[in-house]
Amino acid sequence: MDRQSIIKQFEPVKDNLLNILHALQNSNPENYLSVDDLKLVSHYLNITYSSVYGVVKYYSMFSLKPRGKYVIRICKSPMCHMIGNKEIIDGLKETGYKLGETSGDKLFSVEETECLGRCAKAPALMINDKTYTALDRKKLKELIQSIKLNEQNTK
């Protein structure tokens, strides 16, 4: 679906701003909002470009920079930290994916997030809109491997 048709699914009222931004970002294989997206939204909702920009910058789920096809969000809540999210961060580093970076193949971006509410099954992370829990180094590597394999097969 092109950008215009995505926006037009929503009524042009300002309280739809976050929902629209989500829809645009999710439909972008690079998981981000471009300057053109922001202009489009500002025009559609009849609000200034700067106010759209201000909102995008405020919320941590939105990105103005291209990201990997898969955005990994590692939970850094006190419980995930205590049970061992360091294991996850280190494990990812071993597979070549560093916190705060997008991989060269544009497949993964690694970020941190606040409590994902999976505290009973810590440590947890999200990959795009899916949540994975009770992870350790081994499970994590299998998970990353299966995504990469799947990508190769669909190419």
Binding site: L18, M82, C115
Partner: protein, 414 residues
């Protein structure tokens, strides 16, 4: 041995939440049908006399909130709103997620009853952006409710109209604070505002708004079904009813458990959680979330309620119970908690913006010295106290809670 008593989670796990027919066959939506035959004042009186207290953390009487919203304007043609705060982000808490994933319809039913009571015809559920499973479940539930004409115009042929829309947050803890949530819902940055005016008077789009937590709404159908007297017979006199506790950390059986208030931490940890992992001893419980309190053995046998815990220097908050064994460093846990506040401070008011950073400066200094950290605890307390007095919203007012509780209960272990 204590056992579970379920009100908010009464139907959770008993039906397929993606099929409204299954909810209907369990008697779903019959309480809203019943409520629509009552006067709105009868409903509000019932909620007031049930003494239902808001389950979001503050424990404000839910019935009074309804009454204030109802009575804030005389003219019934003035638009009022009902909003569900489903922006669950308090660390250690996942009670609302369980309700939304397993019984989204009880939330919708609770909102419908409250909307009728206050005279609102438009509602919103503001759900956390990271909660993708909850979002999907609510989308399905709302669509099916419309298909069955349980939402929309002339519900149950009563003349009552209600539309509910889903709004998706985008990663901001602060938006869980009610005034900030309303700003965000309007499509703005999540910046807090000064109270008063309260939402009951001037809320969403400047209109009277009732805003409640997911768990609070989930209690309303039960109260309508069984009456205030019955509800009050559950729990304690300070906090009637049940609470969902989310237990995590060094515990054999972490998870979510709903039971009557008046239960103790020891019972929750031993009976539900089956004790501390690896036969270790308990060091501390971080109770109520990051905006919560570290407590020790001396609070373990206190019957839990909003007020009874306050007397002991603790808070119930969201009902998060984060368990730490003797091996854990409380300094390290406090470090992650204060880092969290720093990250989530919006920067609008100076005391919080500078204060949350200053707390981390102190923590980093203390981290490096390792001995005689106590003077740093005093400094942290001083900083957090002025922040609590001068910050605009609950975020800047919160770091004092974990810091003071460490000062009170674990001074020697800092």
């Amino acid at each position: 041995m204590i056992s579970e008593k379920r009100i908010a989670l009464k139907n959770a796990g008993k039906y397929n939440p993606e099929d409204i027919n299954e909810y209907l066959s369990l008697g779903g939506y019959k309480n809203v049908e019943k409520a629509l035959r009552l006067n709105s004042s009868e409903i509000i009186d019932t909620i007031i006399s049930s003494n239902l207290r808001g389950r979001g953390g503050a424990g404000f009487p839910a019935g009074l909130k309804e009454k204030f919203t109802r009575e804030s304007v005389v003219d019934p043609s003035i638009q009022k709103y009902i909003v569900c705060n489903a922006d669950e982000g308090e660390p250690g808490t996942f009670k609302d997620r369980i309700i939304m994933e397993q019984d989204p319809h009880v939330l919708i039913e609770g909102m419908m009853i409250a909307a009728f009571a206050i005279g609102a015809s438009k509602g919103y559920i503001y759900v956390r952006g990271e909660y993708s499973d909850s979002i999907k479940m609510l989308q399905t539930a709302l669509k099916q409710s419309y298909d069955k004409t349980l939402l929309g115009k002339n519900i149950f042929n009563s003349g009552f109209n209600l539309d509910i829309e889903l709004k998706i947050g985008a990663g901001s803890y602060l938006c869980g604070e009610e005034l900030t949530l309303l700003e965000s819902l309007e499509g703005k940055r999540g910046y807090p505002k000064i109270k008063p005016p309260f939402p009951a008077e001037k809320g969403l789009f400047g209109m009277p708004t009732l805003i409640n937590n997911v768990e609070t709404f989930a209690h309303i159908p039960y109260i309508i079904e069984h009456g205030a007297e019955h509800y009050k017979s559950i729990g304690t006199s300070d906090t009637p009813g049940t609470k969902i506790f989310t237990i995590s950390g060094d515990i054999n059986k972490p998870g979510f458990y709903e039971t009557e208030l008046g239960v103790t931490l020891r019972q929750l940890i031993e009976d539900f959680g089956e004790g501390i992992k690896n036969q270790k001893k308990l060091k501390a419980v971080l109770l109520g979330g990051a905006a919560g309190t570290f407590v020790d053995e001396s609070v373990m046998d206190t019957p839990i309620g909003f007020d009874s815990l306050k007397e002991k220097g603790a808070v119930l908050g969201s009902g998060a119970i984060m368990v730490m064994s003797e091996e854990r460093s409380l300094f390290e846990i406090l470090y992650t908690v204060l880092e969290f506040f720093k990250h989530e401070s919006c920067g609008k008011c100076v005391p919080c913006r500078i204060g949350t950073s200053q707390l981390m400066v102190l923590m980093d200094e203390a981290k490096n010295i390792k001995t005689d950290r106590k003077k740093y605890l005093e400094k942290l307390l001083f900083e957090a106290e002025y922040m609590a007095k001068s910050s605009l919203c609950p975020l800047g007012q919160s770091p004092i809670l974990p810091i003071r509780s460490i000062h009170r209960f674990f001074k020697d272990q800092f």
